[in-house]
Amino acid sequence: MRLPPQSGEWITRSKPLGFRFEGREYTGFEGDTVASALWASGVRVLGHSFKYHRPRGILSAANHDVNALMQAGGTPNVRADATPLQAGMALTAVNTFGSLEHDAGSVLGGFARFLPVGFYYKAFHSKRLFPLWERLFRAMTGLGRVDFATPRLRTPKRYGFCDVLVVGAGPSGLSAALAAAEQGADVVLVDEQTRLGGSTHGTSDLIDQVTAHPRIRVFTDTFAAGYYADHWVPLVERDRITKMRARAVVVAAGAYEQPAVFRYNDLPGIMLASAAQRLIRRYAVRPAQRVVVLAANADAYRALQDFIDAGIEVATVIDLRDDVPAEQQSMLAALRIPLHRGHCIVEAIPANDGKRVAGVRIAAVGAVTPAAEIACDGVFMSVGWAPAAPLLYQAGTKMRYDDGVHQFVPDTLPDGVFACGRVNGIHTPAARLLDGERAGSAAAAHCGFGTMKAVSVPAETESPTHPWPIVSHPKGKNFIDFDEDLQLADLENAIQEGFDNIELMKRYSTVGMGPSQGKHSNMNALRVLARATGSTPGAVGTTTARPFFHPVPMSHLAGRGFTPERRTPMQPHHAAAGAVWMPAGAWQRPEYYAVAGQLRAQCIEGEVLAVRQGVGLIDVGTLGKLEIRGPQAAEFLERVYISKYAGLKVGMTRYAVMCDESGVVIDDGVVARLADDHFYFTTTTSGAALIYRELSRWNTLWKLDCGIVNLTGAMAAMNLAGPKARAVLAGLTDVDLSFPYLAVREGSVAGVPARLLRVGFVGEWGVEIHVPAEHGAAVWDALMAAGQPHGIRPFGVEAQRLLRLEKGHIIIGQDTDGLTTPGEAALDWAVKMDKLFFVGQRSLQAIAGKPRRQQLVGFMLPAGHAGEAPKECHLVIDNGEIAGRVTSIAWSPSLSRHIGLAYVPSDMATVGKPFTIRLSDGSLVSAEVVKTPFYDPDNLRQKEAT
């Protein structure tokens, strides 16, 4: 039912919105939440509880009513109490089997005594019954339906910056923002509500000042989801996340009003007084006709005036306190409202249908027998508050329990973090304004704007929170945690079973582990624990507060991300040639070039044969390409590679293997000496950035007279290989192509300055041609054009892998792992232990005399092997035990055999030794250790000079 227009109401009555809930048509107004529109329409059951499927209504109307989660089309778990109503919405409650009206899950309430605390743990204790319980729990639990057809939302993330971030736009937050801005700070004020002012009336002047202030930016409908080091706070909006970096943070997040615990305290119609106030003021909804107010503080009496003003009949006030302040008593007397001091609600009385409250039974605090029964259709509770302190905890604030206000308050705040208002234990409206001014001024001063004002904040004269708003009942159903349907007895039983530490009790009972994360249950739970163990709430303490403080939609977390992609200058040419792409680090490389009518394997085999019999061209621009110059350049290379380079002649290249300090192979490449003090060298594709960084680090440490330049992106590179390669290149270059294998020459190719490295990675006469990136595509085109008469084919990574395998050349990272030493990888020949020093030398010295764990060997499957061939990473089996693994394997069209590389125990690494490899299906395949290279064992083809 709607009230007459309320001052400052959020709804726009001229804009009605039609929507459906559980198949029925309703109408609300623009500005309504789903919950307020339903409540105004007389709907009292908004959802069913998670465990017992009990009917639930509005509790907080503050974005924490997790029993009123709804499915809105493809979006699950929409919070009805905070989600703006939209025309045409089709909503259903998420936690029902059937419908809200006919929920088969409701029978679970009758089995409550068979579902004791720790039920999950107890059920899973039996290994035999584990699968049964798992199936059952999976069927029974979970909230909402995920629509896998939902398109991915690329929700943007952005960075933000400010001097002072104020979290919470209630009176203290508004005051803090204004004070900080007045002192010159750039302020961001954030609040999860769609409008400023928090839950308090009478701040409109302050709001006007804040919104008009040129140095205050306001983010509404946004919550601060966590606190990270150096004042980083993610601000979650409906359609993006802003990672706000502040120089100071003021936490004015307020407090959550806490429910009282009594039998049937979950019936629809029983809500927090602040929830009733929100319904009245924001949405002009009458929360009930005749209510009982359960009070224990001054807030209850301030709220009561709102109820009276809204025309709600207040049947009586039940105050847990004996010593109700005189002015509060007088207020009730003037209103002719009965007051029951020192009384509590023992139990609420359900209506006949069990779906709403119809009355309460009250008794003196501590008494067992009810003294009276009062009819009502609403119970408004105002018995205390719990600070909204997760951000403070996450920031590292040391909190203490203040017996004066019966809540945790900041004791020691981290540098640059400030707190004010209810979260700081200041509850009186006027004092909250002053506390905000104090904190805002201090935060601005912390950032260097002005000096901190001396503001005197009066202490609370009465506690806003009752220390024990809990009433035991022999029949239970006095809920402490509405998310998980935990009753008082559940916690008492958990403690009795030995889970008498707050963290243990939480995990065993699941208190505070539901979607609201204990916002309405943690304080009462720790009170129960404190009382049961003879301790105090302060000594019991709170559980660890971790980000996120409030659920963040997956669409935000999995929103827009950046995965940078590198492309060589020849990329468009590869695409035009039919490249099928494969990722290689940040690069996309042609795996092979598709040929119409041919399968992948046929395409690759064709490329291999082109290189073996004619000529092929591969883009190797992804290799790391570094240059080092200076008088001590050779000395530097001597130190970082395991081979020798001081004696390398100008105009020659040498294979280069790099180890880390533990003697593990981490990279390889080719070092070319262009001058006495000038080297050009390559690294693996994936290692380029890491190796450059590592070499720069060594250069800084060693202070040698040389400098390293990373040319990886600045140089294009391609490998022209095959018996006809020289003929292709001859007409394009001024370099005499009779230069020897492993030499380097500088000259021009297709009119472009180029470096030519005679290499043999694929086992044929070949030249790596390195040119400035801007000319890469032109040189590629020129080579392809010159190669046409020779049948040139571009070849991809897969063909190259096979070609190099035929030569027995290893690929770092594929044929080595994070423990492989040069000796294990058959690279002993490259290690020059007689050098004065190289990185990893001492580790290799330490293991030199020890037996090798394993050895990389070449192997072949028997000729005519007809069955399935092993794959990379299949295991070598010896006497039924794992003895090694296959690192590379392929069908060699040149040899008509399956060839591969594998690690085997050293005693098996003998040419001719048979061994077995286990396939995925468990069957074994025979193989034999053979000598490498498999192809052209004397390397005559690649060395050929003329």
Binding site: R566, E627, E774
Partner: protein, 172 residues
């Protein structure tokens, strides 16, 4: 202007040099040298940026001077960057969505050069203002260039199609 304009200036002549002798070598070539690291100076028809302590980037016609014979402790750096000029009144929004640096907090009079990461790509950025409009000149490794430009224009497109940022009040 409600759009962000991208200008690809990769073909502008450009050269780099690094090493302990680089600053003195440039000075000997009559190339003005920025005094402080991560700052820049205008040159006739271009600019010089000091990237850290001992590395320099020269862009424009003055880059030709770097073809001079090298001195000890001077190492040439082949620059094959993708170079972009971005401008527009939503430029700051684009920067905020792709980079963690607060460019607006920089003192443009000090001619700052920012070496940072944007959309996951290492970039060198010179922020500025042109006719009251925010602008910036930035360089990245040329092999990232195509993806980088696609990504930035994609984000910019979303920004200019979307409504204004939902925060209220004045942005200082």
């Amino acid at each position: 202007m409600s759009e962000i304009v991208f200008e690809n200036v990769s073909r502008t002549p450009r050269a780099g040099v690094k090493g302990p002798g680089a600053a003195a070598w440039l000075a000997a070539l009559d190339v003005p040298v920025p005094r402080t690291p991560n700052s820049w100076l205008p040159l006739p028809g271009g600019l010089i940026a000091r990237l850290g302590l001992t590395e320099f980037l020269v862009e424009g016609s003055e880059a030709e001077k770097l073809a001079a014979p090298l001195a000890p402790g001077v190492y040439p750096v082949l620059r094959q960057d993708t170079a972009l000029v971005l401008k527009g009144d939503r430029l700051n929004d684009l920067l905020l969505e792709t980079c963690s640096v607060d460019f607006r907090a920089l003192d443009l009079a000090a001619r700052p050069v920012v070496l940072t990461s944007m959309a996951g790509v290492g970039v060198t950025v010179i922020p500025g203002e042109e006719a009251g409009m925010p602008c910036c000149r930035l360089w990245c490794d040329g092999t990232y260039g195509e993806w980088f430009l696609e990504t930035l224009t994609g984000v910019a497109g979303e920004l200019t199609q979307s409504s204004q940022p939902r925060h209220q009040g004045t942005t200082p």
